[in-house]
């Protein structure tokens, strides 16, 4: 196993892609919608339901509007990348596979202190929870390691094993960079060497301003209501498509609306217009949508329903 040091952010991503491809994961592409975490990708949320076996890995750009710091904070970004691995059923050597991936990106197990520290995962918006750890490398959290127990209110059977790497933080550590904006995105000796700031500094500023001060809250609120209504409407449609005469349950289009509602809630939260008491109510509304989608997914072929 190569433990030579990678030299750039993208090399770390490429090595993870290769590693998990070698270990049998389908390498998917990011989901083409704004999400708060890689878990929201239907390849994780929906595919962890039902009894069909599954193995996928992908990079997921993730947005956390409240974490915006105009590109000034060395560690905090409103847009960042997660690397997500999901394998169902969780393999018996999942921990070893994971440690292999750290080695693949240049973390020498002989020199570093890797620890599995209790951290149970819960997503109130997805109605999901699991047990696992945060993985520490020399005292720094580098990944989240979870065995899904429930998603959308359904017991997971078989259980999916999920890994989430916070790519920027992990890469900064491996590359020895103190400020995310200083991190080499491509190789430092590339024809045109680009740093993280060359790509994301300006966008961090733009989104921070928009997230915190400019986003039109009336429009966001309306969009939230629209997404909520559309999600329910899609799922209320008869399962048999009158045009083709086939059974077509439109889970993914509905789930897109659920994802939208979740992100709109995050934007509203960043604008500071959601009070503490309202917060729970909004989370509950998104959870209700996720639950509807889960209910529908288990009726489909991919969800393991008998044909």
């Amino acid at each position: 196993m190569a433990t030579d040091k990678p030299r750039s952010f993208q090399e770390i991503i490429l090595r993870l892609q290769n590693y998990w491809a070698e270990h049998g994961c389908a390498i998917l592409q990011p989901y083409d919608m704004e999400v708060g975490a890689g878990t929201f990708h239907p390849a994780t949320t929906l595919r962890s339901l039902g009894n069909k076996h599954w193995a996928a890995a992908y990079v997921q750009p993730s947005r956390r509007p409240t974490d915006g710091r105009y590109g000034e904070n060395p560690n905090r970004l409103q847009h960042y990348y997660q690397y997500q691995v999901i394998i169902k059923p969780s393999p018996p050597d999942f921990q070893d596979l994971y440690l292999g991936s750290l080695q693949a990106i240049g973390i020498d197990m002989e020199l570093h202190d890797i620890r599995f520290v209790e951290d149970d995962w819960e997503s109130p918006t997805l109605g999901a929870w699991g047990l696992g750890w945060e993985v520490w490398c020399d005292g720094m959290e580098v990944s989240q390691f979870t065995y899904f127990q429930q998603v959308g209110g359904y017991d997971c059977h078989p259980v999916s094993g999920e890994l989430t790497y916070g790519l920027e933080r992990l890469a900064m550590y491996v590359l020895g960079v103190d400020h995310v904006m200083d991190m080499p995105f491509n190789a430092p000796d590339a024809r045109i060497p680009l740093k993280y700031e060359d790509i994301f500094k300006q966008t961090e500023q733009e989104y921070s301003r928009w997230n915190f001060d400019v986003a039109d809250t009336d429009i966001l609120l309306q969009h939230f209501k629209d997404a909520e209504a559309e999600c329910a409407r899609i799922l209320a449609a008869p399962h048999i498509d009158p045009k083709t005469g086939q059974k077509i349950i439109m889970v993914h289009p509905a789930y897109d609306q659920c994802i939208k509602a979740s992100h709109l809630f995050n934007l509203l939260d960043a604008r500071g217009v959601i009070s503490v008491t309202e917060r729970q109510a909004y989370i509950g509304r998104v959870r209700a949508l996720a639950k509807l989608c889960a209910d529908a997914f288990v009726l489909t072929d991919a969800g393991g329903a008998a044909a």
């Binding site: 018996p92 209790e118 047990l131 490398c137 020399d138 005292g139 720094m140 065995y147 550590y173």
Partner: protein, 747 residues
């Protein structure tokens, strides 16, 4: 004799669950062994992050034979009855014995259960223990249905005796028991076979695993102390952290690192909290300056660079964390405490009890009222209360909730407030538990009392009292806090009046949406009257009178409201006072005062003055334990029993009018004299709250009462003499009743 070794090897077990799990494993397995007839010599459970282990030594190799006899029906009973018996014992009729019994020939079944080999029994027990193990949280994995704290990988189960070792074979959800285990995840991951506990423990040590959590903790603590000492520093003790860290490593390697100078301005509590909560670091202090200058971290492995890379990484993470803390600290210092306090209006304390701002207003008013009683300046107590919760709005406390109060103190100091006020910001939360330090600075005491009384009365006002084991708002702790603040500072006041005042404030707030026109006026009037009268009922009556005087028309709604108060508040106050009394009983019991003694004192007036109550109870407890006290109590009980019976029979109360002129004997006259002497001493002593003197005066009654009962027949032939003697007993009851209600004392 045999020895059992069991190891359950899994992915990382949460540190906080390990010790309990090792205990549970030991208890569940050994209980089941004993139930099955396998007694043993000794047993011990162990846990590391990756394994639970149990060793049982001196186990019977086989359970003893059991012979059981059961009596059946008589010979000749209907066939059905016999068949029933045969089914029950699992035998056929030719296997039964026939014996002569009192009622004739009777069937007997003799069932002999031969003992079973230990291995067979263990093979049944362990899978059951595993399947039903009481983890606080457990999970499934892969395609299995077994639940364990994290995926379970292997089971080692070996039974060894002098003549060798054998694997106890069984299967739990596809995991077959064996004699294999593995060492440290990175240092020695190879599997190896094991025959007995001593070898297991020794081989593990070679494979970089310290099996015993206590050994790991001791190792960490010794190394940490030595390392700090070598630099002229000391490690800040933290038993909880030590236990946790010992549960995160199988092979502890202690490393000491530096804290950058940039962070030396931060309060030590901030450094400590950030390092402990985020990084699980120990703080290393310079004993000369009190500053935290270094940290200790515990790695789970040795490295060729002697931990240099690990330490560098940890230092980097710490730098980022402390940069955050410093950022919060500096931002907070730019804000005034008043500005922070103003933000509390956005924070709900409880959806019925309003915002933190509304709560702070109540606490401030109550602090002001309590101040004179505890020797605090009223303005200062009120000022302290007003900013006491401000730090909840600081960035630092948002990040580290456990620093509430401490940060308030620092921010108050930095803004130049009086030290008494700054200290109250921190100390008004105290005491948090039965062993926590009780503040004694007057301003802190005033705010601490007000804070807790407000919380208690609030939840009483909305009927959210603790029930059974449910006490989500920690109200028992708050009540104990009030009791300790009062008793340990010798505070004298009648708690009821403050409870009433605060209940009214809550009531006014809760009824804020009704149409009561002058609620504020009424509240002030009421509170002023309470301050004057000290008694709620009288105060309320006074305000009602005032309201009525002003004219029924305008104030009819107020009158309704006031009458409603008259119904709800005294009841709530009594109920809350009872709750306090229950806590007080627990508290005084720990001080050696038994519950019946406390009951005897609770029956006396002013029982909401806890200092008076405690003094009385403690003096009484001492007295009752003396020879005089014990005998006097018997005398009292005898007198009381006779009186109660006579009073029930005669339908009168013998409580007055014993006259010495009807005394027929000297013992009677002696008792008259003794009672007169006691009365002379007791009343003023009670008034002066000099319970020791009162008890001593009672002690003088013992001999005369004993003498009286020995020599005198109460039911004399003469009715006059009889009544006089009964009244004399009544006099005893009355005299002693000034001190406590002796009828409630057991013995």
């Amino acid at each position: 004799m045999a020895d059992l070794l069991l190891e359950l090897f899994s992915e990382e077990i949460p540190a906080r669950m390990q010790a309990r799990a090792a205990d549970n494993l030991k208890k569940l397995v050994t209980d089941a062994l004993v139930d099955a007839g396998l007694t043993y010599g000794s047993a011990a459970g162990f846990a590391t992050p990756r394994r639970l282990c149990l060793t049982v030594e001196g186990l019977l190799a086989q359970s003893p034979d059991v012979r059981q006899e059961r009596k059946g029906p008589r010979v000749g009973v209907p066939e059905q009855a016999l068949q029933g018996f045969l089914r029950g014992v699992g035998l056929t009729v030719d296997q039964l014995e026939i014996r002569d019994d009192k009622k004739g020939q009777t069937y007997f079944a003799v069932i002999e259960k031969p003992g079973r080999p230990a291995a067979d029994i263990i093979a049944e027990i362990i899978p059951q223990v595993i399947r039903n193990f009481p983890w606080p949280k457990s999970m499934r994995w892969g395609q299995g249905t077994l639940k364990w704290v994290r995926p379970l990988h292997s089971i080692l189960c070996v039974l060894s005796a002098d003549d060798g070792a054998e694997v106890v074979g069984f299967d739990v959800d596809g995991i077959e028991s064996a004699n294999l285990t593995a060492g440290h995840r990175f240092h020695a991951p190879e599997w190896f076979s094991v025959n007995n506990f001593d070898q297991y423990r020794a081989e593990l040590k070679k494979a970089y695993v310290m099996l015993d959590a206590q050994e790991r903790a001791n190792h960490i603590w010794e190394d940490a102390k030595n390392m700090a000492f070598a630099s002229g520093l000391e490690v800040v003790e933290d038993a909880g952290l030590l236990a946790e860290v010992a549960g995160l490593v199988e092979w502890p390697v202690v490393l000491m690192g530096d804290i950058a100078d940039d962070f030396m301005d931060l309060p030590v509590e901030v450094l400590q909290t950030s390092m402990r909560e985020h990084q699980k670091f120990f703080s290393v202090r310079n004993p000369k300056t009190g500053r935290i200058e270094k940290f200790i971290t515990v790695a789970n492995r040795e490295t060729v660079d002697h931990g240099a890379t690990i330490l560098a990484g940890n230092q980097k993470v710490l730098f980022a964390r402390l940069s955050d803390a410093k950022f919060f600290w500096e931002n907070d210092l730019r804000m005034s405490l008043d500005d922070m306090a103003a933000k509390l209006s956005n924070v709900t304390f409880h959806n019925k009890l309003g915002t933190q701002t509304e709560r702070v207003a109540r606490i401030s008013a109550l602090s002001r009222e309590i101040a004179p009683v505890v020797g605090a300046d009223a303005d200062m107590a009120e000022a302290a209360a007003k900013i006491s919760k401000a730090d909840l709005m600081s960035e630092m406390v948002y990040e580290f909730p456990e620093l509430q109060g401490v940060m308030g103190k620092y921010y108050a100091q930095k803004s130049g407030l009086d030290d008494a006020i700054a200290d109250a910001c921190e100390l008004h939360y105290s005491p948090l538990g039965p062993s926590d330090i009780v503040p004694n600075a007057p301003v802190s005491v005033a705010v601490a009392l007000a804070d807790k009384i407000d919380t208690l009365t609030g939840f009483w006002a909305i009927d959210e009292k603790p029930t059974g084991s449910k006490d989500p708002f920690a109200l028992r702790r708050a009540a104990l806090g009030v009791i300790r603040l009062i008793l340990e500072n010798k505070v004298r006041f009648n708690l009821s009046s403050h409870i009433d005042a605060e209940l009214i404030r809550h009531k006014v707030f809760l009824d804020r949406n009704t149409d009561v026109a002058k609620e504020e006026f009424l509240e002030k009037e009421l509170l002023r009257e309470i301050a004057d009268h000290g008694v709620f009922g009288a105060a309320l009556q006074a305000v009602l009178d005032a309201v009525l005087k002003k004219g029924k028309e305008t104030f009819s709604e107020d009158q309704v409201w006031l009458e409603h108060l008259l119904e709800s508040i005294p009841e709530n106050c009594t109920n809350l006072l009872n709750f306090f009394h229950d806590r007080l009983k627990v508290y005084l019991k720990d001080k050696g005062v038994s519950h019946d003694i406390i009951d005897a004192c609770l029956a006396m007036p002013n029982n909401d003055d806890f200092m008076l109550l405690a003094n009385r109870a403690e003096a009484l407890q001492v007295f009752i334990k003396t020879d005089d006290g014990t005998n006097l109590l018997q005398g009292f009980k005898r007198a009381n029993n006779i009186l109660t019976q006579a009073e029930a029979k005669d339908g009168v109360e013998y409580s007055y009018g014993a006259d010495v002129k009807y005394a027929e004997t000297d013992v009677e006259r002696t008792l008259f004299a003794a009672l007169a002497t006691a009365d002379e001493a007791i009343a003023p002593a009670i008034k002066a709250e000099d319970f020791a003197t009162a008890m001593a005066a009672m002690a003088g009654l013992r001999a005369p009462i004993d003498g009286f009962f020995d020599a005198v027949k109460i039911n004399a032939d003469s009715d006059i003499v009889r009544r006089n003697r009964l009244n004399l007993l009544g006099h005893i009851r009355k005299t002693m009743g000034q001190v406590a209600d002796f009828t409630l004392i057991e013995g």
